[in-house]
Each structure stands twice: as C-alpha cells, then as structure tokens.
Symmetry: C2
C-alpha cells in the first residue's frame, strides 16, 4: 500500500467539483459533486440519531436497496434537518436535478447536507449550484480539493486522503474526503464523508468492510459528544481498476481493507485534530483491557471528558481526570493497577503507576503536552485488548464558535 | 412546610464549624465539621465511579453497617482519591482524630474530601484543622455558613437550604449544605452534601427516602458530564424534634419527604447555577414522554449537550441543537411531533411546533435566553410522563478554570 496525494477523484473514473451556489454562505463554495460514469456499488453508514435529516433518509433507502450509484451531491450551510415534508421534497429535487443534468436516474444520486438545522434551503440556489458543478466536473487533483473545500462548515482545513495498492496485478486506488468539526461524537459515522475506489468488489463485501472500518475510525473520534442529525459516510466502488473481484477471506481482501482503513483513519484523525476550536489532536490508547468492548468504552470515555480536554488545552498533566474518566466509563477494573504514559514529539513519560502518581517532572509533562499531537496510553493490566480513540482539546474558541454559530 | 434561612445546623441539636487548616489553599477555610450530640441515623449515596476516594469507601462502610453517626468531617483542596493505602490511612486518621477530640467512636465519624485528585494530604494540617473545628463548634447561623464555605472549591457561592414542618405537633427542621461546581454529572449523588434533620425516623425509611430524593435532585443536574471520584451525600437524623416516629405510607412521611426533597432540589439547583464558569441556570423540563425513564434520559441529554450549553451562553435560540440532543439520547420518539417552548423572567415563547420552527421572533427569544434562569420545555407528545433536569451554560470561564485548575 502506498500513500498518495489525492482525494475523492484519485481513483480511476471518478470526477469531482465544487461550486458557489449561495445556499447560505457568501463568497465561498457550498456545493460539491462526485461522479462516476461507470456504475458504482455503494456502502454507507449513517447517523443513529432519531432525528435524521432528509438526505440521510434518502441515502439509507438507496444503500438498502443496493442499487448502483453514479453521483453524490453535497451541500454545506444548511443541514436540511427538522424541515419536514418540505425539506424531503427539496432533497428529492436536489437528487432529481443532479440526475437530469448528468443524464442518470434520480435514484442513482446520493445526497448529503451539513449546516444549520431547521432552515429550509432555497431551491433556485441549489439548481444554480448543480449547473455550476456539472460545468466544472473534472478528474484533476484541484477538482477533488474543491469538492472537499465546498463541504466545510466550521472546519479550518480541507480533509482528503488517498492510497494505491496492487490487486491481481492491477493498481487499485482508494481516496476520500470528509468534513466535520463540531457535533462530532463516536457512535456512528460521525460526519460527511465520501470515499471512492476503482476496485472491483461486490456490494455485500463492501458493506461489511465499511462497517468494520467505520467502527475503528469515524466511530472512535469525538469533538463534543454531540451526534449530528446528518452524519453520512459513503463508499463508492466503480470497478474501473479491472482487478479480479476481491473475495472475502483472501490476502487481497485484507490488503484492500487495510487501504480503506488507512483512508478512513486518516480522515477521522484530521477531523479530530480540526475539532472546533482545537489546538491539538489528543489520542488515547487503551491497552491491557479485559475485552475489546471495554477497551473501546475506556478510550472513548477519556477523549470525551470535558475536564480531560481542558487540561490537555492547558498543557496540564492532570492525570486524576484521566483516571476519573476511566472510572465512570462503566467498565469494571482495579484502579490500583492502572499505568498512564503520555507521549508526543517531545518524548514519553510515565505519570501514573499502579493508580498513583509516578515520580515524574511536571515541567517535562507540560513540554510533552504542549505539542500539536499528544497521546495518552492507559495500561489497565486486566487482559490484552486494545483500542485507540481520537479527540481534541476544549478551548475558548470552541465556546466562541458555538456561542454564535448561527449569526 | 416553611422555607427558613439556615443550613446544616438549622435542625435542633446540630452544631457546625469551618476552619483554616492549610491543607492546600492559603488564607481560606478548608475544613468543616458537623456534629450532633444525640446519635443520628444516617443515610447516604455515593459516587458510582469505579475509582472511589478513600473517604467514600469509609462512609459506604459506615452507612452499610447502619451505625449511629455523631459527626461528619470534611475538607476541600485535596480529594484524597487515587492515593492508595497511604490515603486510606490518612482518612482513618482524620476520623480517629475527630472522634478523639469529640469523645466519640471513630466509626461514628463520616468523612468527605474534595479537590485535586492524586495528592496526599498533610497529616499535621488535618490535625490542626480538627482542633480549630472543635473550638469553633456552634449552633449559630454563622457557624453553618462557615462550614458550607469551607467545603467550596471552584464554587463561587456557598450553598445552604432549610425548611421546617410540623409532624405530630412538633416542629421538625431539615437543613443542609453542599458544594459542587465542576466534575458534576447526573449519575449519582454528584457532589459533597450534608443534610441534617431533628426528625425521629428509622434508618431504613431514611435510606429509602434519600435514594428517591437523590434521583430527583442531585442526579438530575450536570455541569460537565464528569462524574467525580468523591461524590458523597449524607443525611443525618438525630431525633431531637421529639415527633412520633415517621412511618412509611403516612401523610407525615409524605410531608417529610417533601421537606427533604425541597432542601435537596434547592441545593442541587444552586450547584447547577454555580457550575464552573456558568452565567445562568438552564432547566429542561420534558413533558409528554412515554415513560418516566424516557423523560429522565431526554431531559439529561439536553442539559448535558455542549452545543446546547454554548448556544444558551450565546443567548441563541438554536433549537435544532435541542432537538438533536433529544434525538441522540437513545429514546425513540417521533421528531415531527415535538414542541419546544422557552421561558424565563422575560416571558414564554414557543420556538418549535411539530418538529419544525414555529413562527417566532428571534429578538424575543434572545431576550428570554438572556436572563439568569432559563427553562426549555420539550413536549414529546408520546405519553404523559415528565422529568426536570438542571444544568448551566458552557462559557469561556469553564475553559479558563479547568485549563489550569491545579496551578
């Protein structure tokens, strides 16, 4: 597997574009299109929130029916959630307009929206955007980035990742884009994300691999424990690489899963690091847990604690809060066995040994925590299961961004 | 029932004091004592965190054995949590020293600590504090407040409440104090709190009433979803009012439960309003839920959402976040039935009707939200169960306080 520069149109046969439709924002791109001429098998995971946005309901139906997908049309600014029948009609319009423009079927178009909940979108703006998207469709590197930029809301960086690998002598590419900065919490595919690949793979296997990979990437990040109404993650495989079909249980399947996993984890980490107001990526690795589920719950509990997150912001090795967050996670363990080590580009330091303060330098701990990417390793000494979760610090800017997001 | 000015020594036979022991803070009171000469039956609820502080383990044992209690000794500054065997020894010392000074048995002394996790307390400071506490013990109004002040950490106001009621012709008083401002989350008795009463009541009934009341007061508040290692709530009844013993199922029992409930809810609301960095109390009432459990889960989900909390801080009627928080709570409901109304001293306004924006004035919504106590009523229209939860807004100051709590 080789990491390459690229995004949602890195794989063969995929084109992309971004456009200024004027849905809510002024003077910035707010609609994106991903298109494949060859029909793609499609897998997806969606928000578990009872309140589901219109595009989520639309895509769930498409993925469930297992039809070929030719396009994904996305917008930022307005979430098209809590918009009732009017919102569902507008969403169908968005798909139909895209289909008409591209000469495909309405039910071959997935949709995704992100932004303010409860506002209705302007139909004319959407139609205008779709025309522009069609005009600018391209397989260029730049076009992929324009699509990725157009779905940003409070994101500060555009999120893309891509890899290539060889399967039965053919080069297969997996690339993707995602957005997400607030309302991010691991209990689902937490964001908008589109991954494309030219691999030849069946629909069932793609769905299985997608579920598995989402569990270890997007479902392991959190910015604020708020699970959105719009979260959508789609994987499209158009088969243009011409490899022998990937079969479950083979080495090729493992390799492909690794590539898909790399792209998903890379996008997920970029989202956590770019959490609203965040100054750093905060990774928590739990080792020595009794079960895999325990490891997952423990790791998530640490990265979601507001008190841990503010301490990380303050470069304060306040390990009591980490131990406390492990303690209220719901997992049983012996607190007097736990070791905690922090690590970053500045070095590695054990701060807790057997549940009590290790003999460590606070100055060195602060130096480690002051880097832009910090990891806490919690060894539970209860078994041999592990999990990794990614979050960010809680800062003044998170409050600022969300105190007046709508204005 | 009549609300009176008073606290932990309002009830007959209780004395209290606060003292500067110099455990961690400089120039402020950091130890408190509550004492009753007549033996008191004692009920308590404690943190569900796996990581339990030494005083919590000590009190759980006392309450479980059902012995009479004569005193509660408390300190702020250091939590005596994650301190291992050394911490447990120090805690026993604190009880023993208090018992010796008061001429009672060590196992008749409950302990409670709050502050930084992981630090060891200084034995000499504790001994010095206990001597001062003994010297200043008094049933004066001022002494109660000094005890309540001494247990504050990041609290900005001292929390007391008291009521009187008549039972079998005798005046019964219930009074209490609590602290808690950060690491506050509803899944337990979330804080330090001591309620005293001179009522004659049996141990089993007092325990039952305490559990019931905690569920509807302290367990319905949240500041930051972080459940502490030290949470302790104790109720002491010394019987000095001389009423006929309160029996379950009687009118007298209902009246007493109401009085105990009033004191607990008042203290709980004071804690939520004084949440770290908070500028206002944010109450959420869920009506029309299918079951009581659903109502509780829904109400808590709204008050714990960081996104709702920041919007409340910004006086922004961003109702989509409230609906979103109801939606990810885990409770099933029809989002297109929900009504949301906000209310405060400035007035009442329906902002959501049947899951969509009602036709309302944003200016009036902002005016309502700008008051120091704000309520959101969410009518689910699924049944007739209700619950109320209390939280606060999430502000710059929460980040400031917790970015460098230890320094």
């Amino acid at each position: 597997m080789q990491v390459i520069d690229g995004g949602v149109n890195a794989a063969k046969g995929f084109m992309a574009s971004g456009a200024e439709a004027g849905i809510k924002y002024k003077n910035r791109k707010d609609m994106a299109l991903v298109y494949t001429k060859s029909p793609a098998v499609c897998a997806g995971t969606f928000t578990k929130n009872v309140v589901k946005a219109a595009p989520v309901l639309w895509d769930i139906d498409i993925v469930r029916r297992g039809e070929a997908v030719h396009a994904v049309v996305l917008n930022s600014g307005i979430a098209n959630a809590c918009t009732g029948e009017e919102g569902r009609e507008l969403n169908e319009c968005m798909a139909a307009e895209t289909a008409k423009t591209l000469g495909i079927d309405t039910k071959q178009v997935c949709t995704a929206s992100t932004g303010v909940i409860g506002m209705q979108m302007n139909k004319e703006a959407v139609a205008r955007g779709i025309k522009l998207l069609k005009k600018d469709l391209s397989d260029s590197r730049k076009a992929g980035t324009e699509a990725a930029s157009a779905i940003m809301t409070t994101d500060t960086v555009c999120k893309e990742a891509a890899v290539t690998l060889k399967i039965s002598g053919k080069t297969v590419t997996v690339g993707g884009m995602s957005k997400g900065s607030g309302m991010i919490h691991p209990d689902m595919a937490t964001m908008l994300g589109v991954v494309t690949t030219d691999a030849v793979i069946g629909s069932e296997l793609l769905k299985n691999l997608t579920s598995k990979i989402v569990a270890e990437s997007f479902n392991m990040i959190s910015v604020d424990r708020d699970t959105s109404t719009n979260d959508t993650f789609l994987v499209l495989a158009n088969g243009e690489a011409g490899n022998d079909e990937i079969i479950q249980g083979t080495k090729e399947c493992e390799d492909f899963a690794e590539a898909l996993g790399y792209v998903a984890v890379t996008l997920a980490k970029k989202m956590a690091a770019d959490g609203e107001g965040a100054t750093k990526l905060f990774e928590t690795k739990v080792t020595g847990a009794g079960t895999k589920d325990d490891a997952v719950v423990l790791a998530k509990s640490v990265i979601t604690s507001n008190l841990v997150k503010t301490a990380v912001y303050g470069n304060d090795a306040n390990w009591g809060r980490i131990l406390c967050a492990l303690g209220y996670s719901g997992v049983e363990f012996d607190p007097e066995k736990v070791d905690i080590t922090i690590t970053s580009a500045a070095g590695t330091l054990k701060i807790v040994e057997n549940g009590k303060a290790a003999d460590y330098s606070e100055d060195f701990a602060t130096e480690i925590l002051s880097k832009s990417s910090v990891t806490a390793v919690c060894d539970m000494k209860q078994g041999d299961c592990e999990a990794v979760a990614w979050g960010c610090d809680l800062t003044y800017d998170y409050v600022k961004i969300n105190g007046d997001y709508r204005s």
